[in-house]
């Protein structure tokens, strides 16, 4: 009698970004190998995972891969949708699924989204900024596309450890109200440099708003400009009033605790003499 079912091996990978382990399960060996390669440096040994996703690979793309992402919540269940993927996640059960083709970009987007949701509840966020550690302190360099995130990353001296050239991971650290601060973590979310950040972390010493100019200099800015610029560079996708309120006020708290300045620079490595 022919077998009616076939047992398929499930392959699991823990991707740990910002000290949050996310388990990804797939039955596709090729996709699994791609994940191992894509997130090298952020793959943790099997352990407890805060979130677990089953990936269901589909043979063809959705109707509109360029469509905007939509992140909505209903009855405690999140839905993430873009032209190239659909995913659901239930925080209560810590589990979810992703339906996508075998490509690294869709799951990368899902991971970014889920991290923004978790961070928003904790006073942290993902920020459009490069970041690096120097002398034990983390420095963030924020700006929109073409502001210079890739350039400042490329100019980093050997004693600076690059956390990311594109999306910084910021987590609030509460060790008593007086000592509350922020930690920057390395991420695998890359920009033009296409180089994964180092999977390390450090307390954030400063946020610089990047501007290209004719000389290297640091100028103070008013708190309102700092808050406005930070808010403008936050990554946040969820259509959720409570989380929007949370991330909005988190941005103000951040600028009240972390020095924010404008860093004007020429594309020259000497700019790093001002940092650290």
């Amino acid at each position: 009698m022919p077998e009616l079912t076939t047992e398929v091996d499930r392959l699991s990978l823990i991707i740990k970004i910002g000290s949050m382990p996310v388990r990804v399960n797939t039955t596709d060996a090729g996709f699994f190998a791609m994940l191992q390669d894509r997130y090298a440096g952020f793959v943790a040994s099997p352990e407890y995972a805060e979130i677990e996703f089953d990936v269901d690979l589909t043979p063809r793309r959705g109707p509109d891969p360029e469509a905007d992402v939509r992140v909505t919540q209903q009855h405690g269940r999140w839905t993430f949708e873009r032209g190239d993927f659909r995913a659901e996640w239930a925080p209560a059960s810590r589990t979810g699924w992703i339906r996508q083709t075998a490509n690294p970009y869709s799951i990368d987007a899902v991971l970014r989204i889920v991290h923004t949701l978790v961070l928003a509840r904790e006073g942290g966020f993902l920020l459009h900024s490069a970041s690096a550690i120097r002398n034990g302190k983390a420095f963030l360099f924020a700006g929109v596309s073409e502001a210079g995130k890739t350039t400042i990353s490329r100019l980093a001296p050997p004693d600076a450890t690059l956390l990311t050239d594109e999306i910084s991971y910021v987590r609030k650290h509460d060790s008593g109200k007086q000592d509350a601060g922020y930690i920057a973590y390395g991420t695998p979310f890359t920009g033009e440099l296409a180089r994964l950040g180092e999977n390390v972390s450090a307390p954030i010493a400063a946020l610089y708003l990047l501007a290209k100019g004719k000389e290297n200099r640091i100028d103070p800015i008013l708190p309102a400009e700092a808050a406005r610029s930070l808010l403008a560079n936050l990554l946040f996708f969820a259509e959720d009033e409570e989380l929007v309120q949370s991330i909005f006020h988190s941005a103000f708290e951040f600028v009240s605790r972390v020095p924010v300045s404008r860093l004007t620079f020429v594309p020259d490595a000497r700019v790093w003499e001002l940092i650290g």
Partner: protein, 105 residues
Amino acid sequence: MSKLYMARNPRVAARSLDGEMMIMSGRDSTLFTLNKTATILWQAADGATPLDEIVEHRICPEFEVEPAQALHDAETLARELASHEILQISEEPIAPASPSSGASR
């Protein structure tokens, strides 16, 4: 001419820093920075005070403008803020939102 009443939308996040009012839409995270006039309207939008009184007592003394022109401009601005769901507007007084809603600081 009918009265126009305004109330702050409790579903946005709002905060003032250095006199600059920033508002983020709770629906789609769009960030708005209000100018001085819009900030006055936002702060005075209690749902009970009609726009013409706000213009007379808060805007005209501040900007030294003709009351009729000021009211026209303020109404245009209020409707624009309402179109972005920052303010609610009505020709009737607007009842206050429940205490649990809204997070203006």
